[in-house]
Homo-oligomer: 478 residues x 2
């Protein structure tokens, strides 16, 4: 018996050069992301917070580069945070951890600058981060005692240079009795001041209920490159269960529910693993990744703080709301991934543990070969499979003959199986092309060896993804 | 005190579109790799082997796609192998493991086809791989018994399709009394038959001495994409110490030294971790990666088989020679990495363990952001540092204040420190550009917390790296 086939043309190496001796490529234009940002009703925003964004001078003239968010609640405001597990933590990360430690999970202020990451800046960096904290503490009413700093701090931008700290502290002091407000336009200014290579401000707000009482939650985040966060609480120095994962990703979530500091941190840890620790743009982990959450109890002054020890039911509703909201914010970063033209959900089902499913989803989400195939709209199940199989140290070993891979369209039409029971299907190429030519789809991987699942959100890898880094070879030289 | 700086132009997002609505890029032409292959003296090749490469019909007309290598030694030939740790092992990997198992480390033949990986091909695939083994066994003199198959098998190419097995076995049978030979031209044909997207055949040979006795070693390998091997011996089912690492990489090394089967496997394991398991092109692990080694004792018929239990000194010389030779072969794959314009050594020193150093070197070697910066000839130490710091679970935690990063030129002129004691240097940009504009350089990372080190070999990530996968958007449509 003899069967033959030709190598697909895609495998052929290119050799053409233009008359100038350089290679020329054409690529699709980037899809617009404008629909991902729009006005929100003022009454979706949680009570008891004020915010703004201003230009202080880190970035070029007029761009907003300093955000301040303050809790004005009469009740104690709980705060929790999750920080990059990178060994080279930037100064604001270290200072933010210390503020939370000293205050046992209470804080009322947040200050953020963009344009400079204040990372790898030695003692000067630490001193500058503290100066931002102290200046913002001066905006709090009543002001905290000197030994009890109550502001969290984050920075994003270039690694290496020190901050123009004089300009920053002057701008913060200028906010006294100034433009801080609680309307959409105030929050939007704050969101714009978070941006670096982001193409749109990332701001969301919604309301939710716990036992028929209404609360609100709002959040801002930023990130487009160096995105593959692996964050954890400050106290954890042991390897994470999802170690090996790896933005500057910054996020701030505020709610007017009342939650105890411990339970706020526990809920955040749970949410982070299922949101910000489950996204990838380029597979690289930043030195500055930080997500903070505040809960000020301003919505229902008569309700006690939710705590998992005394009110599991209330806690669980809050935790799941926080997780869902964090996922919405995290996904905005993937949509805005540098050069991304596709938004892809990698859904691993049937694993023995969440950690196993998460490890596999992470690897598939960072496969350079798969990401280039997705840009080319090629349903390359071989690359999916090679990535799945490359993960070592799973709780329960993979059984190749049980594995299914499906491409799931966004529009609700039937999914396209490409691998069933470990054997390739005769794939309808026209249908595959239909699904992959959409901006959004899911790759479902069914392992068939357990009950646990995990999702990851990733994007494709296009010429444009690389363009910011190849400036000197590009016409126009940006 | 106030310090300001502007965002580098490289951070700006691009927005220009051509009149046709597509984006146009220009990139440097790929450097020629022609100098990496040339004729070798016939007498560098080990005694007691014959080889050839022929066209059997897996690939398009005339391209060589079937290699056979046979030991003709009168003494027993030892064989050892290292296989991909991917869970979706291709049929030839499974069959090759079984042949070695059944023969307790003895084998005399190798058969390799290119053009089709015989991966994810179910029972048909296993049957086809055995057919290749049996046919090649028929070329051995004397032929092995039916219960003692003595040929190892490897395949590389597209995942999914089954082999045109009739054409393959006919071609093997056609070699009886045919063109197999021991001259350079015979080996070169074999090397060409290994190739898929490779741009040059990868063949090396040299001589070495153990206690003043002369031996020869020769080898062939192939690989250009899906290259980030993590291989181990067949018996090891536990996670590798370097787990998380991830070609089709195929390699065959032959020597006329005499080495016991056990010691040949031990030496190969040591060599693989320091050679083929220390290279990366795109960070993706293949389902077919296999490296085999044969030792037939034909050079010095009177010498006993080297064994680490009875002759550590002889073993150590052989092991180190095998390691150095495997490194030379492995590096050829990085030189030929799809789209690569730079050959970069990542050298991590001062780690607590080899495994710690190896994990860090692997991560730095796969950072998409660093690899694009290297193509752009940007000495971006921030990206090096972010990658180093992202590794979790080290034996001994990193101490940021002890870390140095240097760019080391190939020409022996002084290295350029970019980070010393965890703080950025004032980098001479002209000098940095000089070093990075060379095709070959080293990134040295000194951790300062131990005595162990590991090297990794990687390449940059260029537009051309992606081109084979974007065919439909390219003029000419290859």
């Amino acid at each position: 018996m003899s069967r033959t086939f030709a190598l697909p043309a895609i495998w052929k190496r290119m050799s053409s050069t233009s008359s100038t001796g350089t290679l020329t490529y054409h690529s699709k234009p980037l899809p617009s992301k404008a629909h991902l940002h729009g006005p929100l009703s003022d009454n979706l925003f949680p009570k008891g917070y004020v915010a703004t964004g201003v230009h202080c001078g880190v970035k070029k003239p007029t761009a907003l580069d300093l955000a301040v968010i303050l809790s004005t609640s009469d009740r104690p405001t709980s705060a929790a945070a999750s920080f990059t597990r990178n060994a080279f933590k930037a100064a604001p990360v270290l200072v933010c951890q210390e503020v939370l430690d000293r205050n046992e999970g209470r804080a009322r202020g947040l200050v953020v600058n963009s344009g400079c990451a204040n990372a790898v800046t030695g003692k000067q960096g630490i001193s500058d981060a503290w100066a931002m904290v102290k200046s913002t503490d001066g905006l709090l009413d009543p002001p905290p005692s000197h030994s009890q700093p109550s502001t969290l701090v984050m920075s994003t931008g270039v690694i290496g240079p020190t901050l123009p700290i004089g300009k920053i502290t002057s701008a913060i002091e200028g906010l006294k009795g100034g433009p801080l407000g609680s309307r959409f336009e105030d929050w939007e200014k704050a969101a714009r001041a978070f941006m670096t290579t982001d193409t749109f401000p990332k701001l969301r707000a919604r309301t939710f209920k716990i036992r028929d009482k209404e609360y609100a939650i709002a959040g801002i985040d930023k990130g487009a490159g160096m995105i593959h966060p692996d964050m954890g609480p400050a106290a954890v120095h042991s390897p994470s269960p999802t170690s090996g994962l790896h933005a500057t990703l910054l996020g701030c979530i505020v709610t007017d529910a009342a939650v105890s500091p411990t339970s706020l941190q526990t809920a955040l840890d749970y949410a982070i693993d299922r949101s910000f620790n489950s996204i990838s743009v380029d597979g690289d982990m930043s030195t500055n990744d930080t997500v903070v959450v505040f809960a000020n109890g301003a919505a229902q002054p008569e309700e006690k703080e939710i705590d998992q020890e005394t009110d599991w039911e209330g806690y669980e509703v809050f935790r799941d709301e926080l997780t869902s909201f964090a996922q919405e914010l995290a996904q905005l970063v993937v949509w805005d991934g540098e050069g991304a033209t596709k938004f892809v959900t990698v859904n691993v089902e049937g694993a023995a543990t969440f950690e196993d499913a998460h490890k596999i989803a992470s690897k598939v989400s960072t496969s350079a070969l798969l990401k280039t195939a997705l840009y080319a709209e090629d349903a390359n199940w071989g690359r999916v499979l090679a990535a799945v199989g490359s993960i070592q140290g799973l709780t329960k070993p993979l059984e190749p003959a049980r594995v299914n891979v499906l491409f799931v369209p966004e529009d609700g039409t039937p999914p396209l199986p490409v691998l069933v029971g470990g054997e390739p299907e005769n794939v309808d190429e026209v249908r595959a092309k239909e699904i992959l030519s959409e901006g959004k789809f899911e790759i479902k991987i069914q392992l068939g060896i357990g009950e646990e699942s995990a999702k990851y959100w990733t994007c494709d890898l296009s010429y444009v993804s690389l363009r910011p880094f190849f400036s000197k070879f590009l016409p126009g030289g940006v």
